[in-house]
Every structure is written in structure tokens, then in C-alpha cells.
């Protein structure tokens, strides 16, 4: 389904989606983040600071509550994610491509019920990047595109005073059908303009990971390379790169005790991060990933070697957040290129 929507009518479209919680990019404290919006939605954002992954995979997920009276059996109460449906507007193609990658992780071997329960209720309304929103965008070199529809339910393209709106999935069709009257049929000129805009978007120069299909083998051959530590020497071991990443999905599970008598608490899943020194710390004090080099290698190789080996595609979608936001200049493009270049 391909339609034209007058830019001024987007608020009416959102108003028509009355059973949906609408998430849109909001500029607050100088950063863009997805937040619930009502009425006016702004789509003039570059990209949000954090990816929208938190809607299906929140930073904190309570699995169950527990309670035990001394001498009695413990009582567990499962906490089930609510059934609220969320439609996220303004999702950039890189973040859209993050969605199927997250789906693979949380569906492979074991189906993650909590993830699935949330995921099925999220619709991603994408916005094509007419030009790269960040100087560190590199989607093209990792198999993506500024006009990719991968992972999206709807793709919108900015045509100046109107949007070209394309339904990608059945969910997307449903979203558009909810306000069918607002949409017009695209004219031949519209179609031509979309093609033109998309062609220009793809032609925009971007930074690039070189020869991404050769990277897995090269990284495999570089496991013991001293380059890792050299490139990671400045790494401070914070969680910025992973927490902002649209595909980083590592988590930790903890019991958080709320009261001792009676014993009460929750089991909770929280995001974790392979760059924290204690991520792989053993209780003996031994740490198999003992330095920043080993930890950076883990993150980079996961994106560019292990994931391709397991699923046949790089996990990285080229959003460039980890590059732009790293406080000390660790640059994943540079790291991959350098290590690959120097591979045996």
C-alpha cells in the first residue's frame, strides 16, 4: 500500500490511532528520545540518542515477584507485560534493521516470552533518511540503506510538504487503514519524486566498513591480534556504546529484595554490558576478558563475526551511535577496518 499524506495531517493520523500509545521523537535536555506523544509529532529529528529497542526489550523487566513467610513455601507471582500497543514514529532505517536482529536473538533456540509479549505489540513507523542524519552513519557498508524497510511496519519518506507513506506489513496496513481518508493516492509525479529522493539518499557519501562480507574471517584470524588492546587503550569501560546500540541485547538477572521479614522481592532483568569490567568477572576473581582489548574485541566480533556466523548477517546496522557518543573516540568503523586490514 502506497499513499500520500499531507504533512499537516500527520497529527490527524496519530489522533485516529486511538488504541495505540504513540511514541515519537522528543527533544528534551538537548537530546532526542522516543517519548509518548499526543497530537503533534515532530519528525525533524536527526536520530534519537537511544534506539527504540527498549520498547520490546526494556532496560528493566520484572519477571516475577516472590514472597516467603518463614517456614512456608515461597510464593511466586508472574509479572506479565501489559498489552498496550505502541506505535513508534520516526524510526530511522538503521533502527528498523535492528528489530529483526533482536527478534533473531530472542527467538533462536528459546523463545523469550517477555520479549515476544512486548514485541508483538510494537509497530515501527519508519522515516527514510533523505540525507545521513549523522556524520558517523555507515548503514550502506553493513548491508543497510537509508531507505531500507527492513524491520519496519510502515515507511515514510519526506517529500517536502507531504509524506510518501508505504505499508510494509499487515500491521502497517492496519495503521494506515485506521485513517484511510487522510491518505491520497500517489500521483506519477509523487512516485517519480520518491524514486529520486531515495536515489539521492543512497548516493550520499557515508563513512564505511570496508568489505563487510570478508570481515568475519578476518576477525576470526585476528583473535589474538595485539591491535585489539592498542585500539581499546583509551576505552573507559562504560556502557554508552551498548546501551545506545539498537542491537546490543545482553542482560543480567537479579533478585532485588524489598523486605526481609516477610521476605519479599522481585526477580528482574536489566540491561548489561560487555564493556563493564565485571561482566565476565568470576567469583574467584579471575576475569577471562581481563582488559579493555578483550572486551572491545568481544563487542566488535559479536557484531561482525559471531552474529554473521550464526545468522548470516552483521549485527551492526551502522547507526553510528557508539562512535558519536563514545567519550574517548573509540570508533567501530576504524576498529573493524584496522583489524581486518592487518589480519593474517
Amino acid at each position: 500500500m502506497e499513499k500520500i499524506l499531507d504533512k499537516k495531517r500527520i497529527d490527524d493520523w496519530i489522533a485516529a490511532l486511538d488504541n495505540w500509545d504513540i511514541q515519537g521523537p522528543v527533544l528534551e535536555d538537548d537530546i532526542w528520545s522516543y517519548q509518548p506523544v499526543s497530537g503533534a509529532v515532530r519528525l525533524d529529528h536527526p536520530n534519537t540518542k537511544q534506539s527504540p529497542k527498549g520498547l520490546a526489550f526494556p532496560q528493566r523487566e520484572i519477571f516475577f515477584k516472590f514472597e516467603q513467610i518463614k517456614g512456608e513455601a515461597p510464593r511466586l507471582t508472574q509479572v506479565v507485560p501489559d498489552e498496550q500497543r505502541h506505535a513508534v514514529f520516526g524510526v530511522r532505517p538503521c533502527d528498523g534493521r535492528g528489530v529483526p536482529r533482536m527478534d533473531l536473538v530472542f527467538n533462536d533456540h528459546v523463545e523469550d516470552n517477555y520479549y515476544q509479549a512486548r514485541r508483538k505489540n510494537v509497530a515501527y513507523v519508519g522515516l527514510a533518511c533523505n540525507k545521513p542524519p549523522s556524520a558517523n552513519c555507515f548503514c550502506l557498508s553493513v548491508g543497510g540503506s537509508p531507505v531500507s524497510t527492513d524491520g519496519l511496519d510502515v515507511q515514510m519518506t519526506d517529500l517536502g510538504d507531504r509524506y510518501f507513506v508505504k505499508a510494509i506489513t499487515e500491521t502497517g496496513k492496519g495503521l494506515m487503514a485506521a485513517a484511510g481518508k487522510l491518505f491520497a493516492e500517489p500521483s506519477a509525479a509523487d512516485q517519480k519524486q520518491v524514486k529520486q529522493v531515495h536515489a539521492e539518499a543512497v548516493a550520499y557519501p557515508q563513512r564505511a566498513v570496508r568489505n563487510v562480507e570478508e570481515v568475519p574471517a578476518k576477525l576470526k584470524a585476528s583473535f589474538k591480534s595485539p591491535l585489539w588492546q592498542e585500539l581499546a587503550q583509551a576505552c573507559i569501560g562504560c556502557g554508552i556504546c551498548t546501551f545506545l546500540c539498537p542491537t546490543c541485547h545482553c542482560f543480567d538477572i537479579n533478585d532485588e529484595v524489598q523486605s526481609k521479614a516477610p521476605l519479599k522481592g522481585i526477580r528482574v532483568r536489566t540491561w548489561d554490558n560487555c564493556q563493564f569490567p565485571d561482566f565476565t568477572m568470576h567469583s574467584s576473581g579471575h576475569n577471562p576478558r581481563e582488559n579493555t582489548g578483550a572486551r572491545l574485541r568481544q563487542r566488535v566480533a559479536h557484531k561482525f563475526q559471531y552474529f554473521p556466523e550464526n545468522f548470516g548477517m552483521p549485527q551492526c546496522t551502522g547507526c553510528g551511535r557508539c562512535i558519536s557518543e563514545c567519550p574517548v573516540g573509540i570508533d567501530i568503523i576504524n576498529v573493524v577496518n584496522k583489524v581486518a586490514e592487518n589480519a593474517a
Binding site: D30, K49, Q50, I236, E256, F276, P327, V328, D331
Partner: protein, 343 residues
């Protein structure tokens, strides 16, 4: 004006003579105009050193990393490490020495004066450039000169400088082995603690509204802790890695363990984390502002540290990083310390 060649020459000379193991400095990074930390070990690399308004980083963090590494491999330092340090960074080094983290002879301080200016605030710059990208930035007297696609753009430094630099009282590394640039102490462009004073003018309710908003936004990536040279504890109170969980561990065992701060990034836990950090930095923070710069969600962390700095100064006459042999704030006292708040 600092001539970068002088810094490079110093580094080259010391590395050639083997006087230092390495020089920790700044180089041009691979992303845009930003400098990044570099660790050079041979004289040939000295030419990569740079000095510009994007040299934000407090490199003394890497002296801490170095110490930890040496302890890990159970080796003693063979030679000192040289480090490029701004005024605030040099004060951090002094605090580390005051806390016996390393000795004076273990480090060779290549001081750089911030002269009339300081480092850039990327957020302020972004507003000025309005979407455009700068590929380079240089000091030029009281101005910063940016190279953009549309040509050269000159901005008065005070419009795009970091708040911490505008308010800096001592933009000069008093502790140094060699120093470049003029000492322009006393040139502060804004009153010390100006941002803090503006904030404190508000009432209790408004302050809580402000902080509860920001405490909610913290994503607990711990960039503030990781980037801070003073956060060198082997185990932070927020991590509970010394408590193994085995199949034998009962819920009651877990309940009896001390967990100061839970992993959940929720308001109560974020507050406990950020407040504890502020307390642990009292009298140690030298206002390098790295925590606030590193924060990906712009939590105004510096205000908390500033508050402690001002209390230390006004109530106890304490100046962090003033002297290597001096006492630490919370392990010392004076008879005249205020006590009128005690019943």
C-alpha cells in the same frame, strides 16, 4: 599561544632518551574534529600529538589504568609516564598523589595552560553551527576558529566554551615538570560556581522537580564513573561482584547480603548511586567536568560535584588538589568546622 611543536619536541626528546615509558597525550581521532587520548611509546609517534579546544579528556584517568595494569601483572614501573595535563587534570594528578596512588617521581607532568580560554562544549557548538559540521577547531587568542564545509568560522570562545572552563579559577597546571602557555589565573569569564548559584536560587520544591526529572533519566551506563580518575575503587558500591550466587544460595542468603544499590535503573537507585558518587568525590573532584560531558543523556552531574566543592571551600576552607602533602577533606577536620547544625 602554545606551539604544539614544543609539546611534540618535549615528548620526542624524553622518549628518545628513555626518560619516560610513554607519553599520554591527545591526537586527532578518526571521527570529525574531535581529539582523542593517545599513548605514544616511540619518538616517531610524537608528531601525532595535538592541542586544541577538543582536548577535553582528563588523561590522569590513564595513570590510574596504568597503575591497575601494573598491579595486575605484578610489576613495578620501570620509568615514569609523561602526561599532558590542563589545570584541572594536574589537580587530579595531585589528588591521586595525595592519596598515594602513585608517587611524584612516577609521573612527568607536561602542563598546558588553558590561557584565556578552555575546552569546547559540543552541545553549545551544535546550537551555533545549526546542523553544520566542523572538521577542525583551533585556539586563536580569545576565539575558537572552526573549519566547516562553508569555510572558516570564528566564534568568541566564551560562547562555546564548557561551563566548567568559564568558571575555572585556576586554568593553569601549577603542579608540573614543564609547562606550556601563559598562566592566566584570574581571568575567569564567569564567577566561580555561577551555574550552581543560579540553580540554588530556586526553592526546595523546584530543586526537587529538577533533580527527580534528571534522576529518572539516568540510564546507569556508568560513563560518569568510568571516565573519572577519582573513581578508582576496585569494586564500586553499585556492583556486588564479591557475592557469588550458586545453586546453593537461598533467597534468604541473598536477602541478608548488603546490596546498597540495586541494578534497576529506577529513580531511588539512581539517586543513591549519584549521591554516593558525589559524596565520594567531595574534596577530590577538581571540576574537570568529564562526568557531565560523558553523560549520554545530559544529566547535570557537575552541579552535584560543584556543590560539594563549594561547601568544602566555604565551610572548611578546603581546596581540592592544592597540594600533594595536604590532608584530604573527609579524613581531616578543624576545630572551627561548623557545628551549629548539631543539636
Amino acid at each position: 599561544m602554545i606551539n604544539i611543536q614544543d609539546i611534540r619536541e618535549t615528548a620526542r626528546d624524553m622518549l628518545t632518551k628513555g626518560e619516560v615509558r610513554a607519553v599520554i597525550g591527545y591526537r586527532r581521532g578518526s571521527r570529525g574534529m574531535l581529539a582523542e587520548p593517545t599513548f605514544i611509546t616511540s619518538a616517531e609517534q610524537a608528531d601525532e600529538l595535538v592541542w586544541d579546544p577538543t582536548c577535553f579528556h582528563n588523561l590522569s584517568l590513564y595513570l590510574v589504568h596504568d597503575r591497575k595494569f601494573l598491579a595486575h601483572i605484578r610489576k613495578n614501573a620501570e620509568a615514569p609516564v609523561a602526561i599532558v595535563a590542563k589545570g584541572c587534570d594536574a589537580r587530579s594528578i595531585v589528588v591521586l598523589m595525595q592519596e598515594h596512588y602513585f608517587k611524584r617521581e612516577d609521573v612527568y607532568i607536561i602542563g598546558v595552560s588553558c590561557e584565556g580560554t578552555g575546552v569546547l562544549d559540543e552541545r553549545k557548538l551544535a546550537k551555533h553551527l545549526n546542523g553544520a559540521q566542523a572538521s577542525n577547531v583551533a585556539f586563536d587568542g580569545g576565539d575558537f576558529v572552526f573549519t566547516t564545509a562553508e569555510g572558516e568560522k570564528r566564534l568568541p570562545a566564551r560562547e562555546v566554551m564548557a561551563d566548567r572552563c568559564l568558571e575555572c579559577r585556576i586554568p593553569f597546571p601549577r603542579e608540573h615538570n614543564i609547562v606550556f602557555g601563559e598562566d592566566k589565573t584570574g581571568r575567569q569569564l564567569e564567577a566561580p560556581f555561577a551555574a550552581l548559584t543560579r540553580f540554588e536560587a530556586q526553592g526546595t520544591g523546584a530543586r526537587w522537580d529538577f533533580w527527580s526529572h534528571h534522576f529518572d533519566r539516568c540510564i546507569r551506563c556508568f560513563a560518569c564513573r568510568s571516565v573519572c580518575p577519582m573513581c578508582y575503587c576496585d569494586e564500586c558500591v553499585v556492583d556486588s561482584i564479591t557475592f557469588p550466587v550458586t545453586t546453593e544460595t537461598t533467597a534468604e542468603d541473598k536477602a541478608n547480603r548488603i546490596r546498597w544499590i540495586e541494578r534497576s535503573a529506577v529513580r531511588s537507585e539512581n539517586i543513591t548511586y549519584l549521591m554516593t558518587r558525589a559524596m565520594h568525590l567531595a574534596g577530590r573532584c577538581t571540576d574537570c567536568g568529564e562526568c557531565e560531558r560523558a553523560c549520554p543523556v545530559n544529566v547535570p552531574i557537575r552541579l552535584l560535584n560543584n556543590k560539594m566543592e563549594r561547601e568544602a571551600r566555604e565551610q572548611f576552607g578546603f581546596e581540592p588538589g592544592a597540594s600533594i602533602g595536604g590532608p584530604s577533606l573527609v579524613a581531616s577536620f578543624l576545630d572551627r568546622d561548623p557545628g551549629d547544625f548539631i543539636r
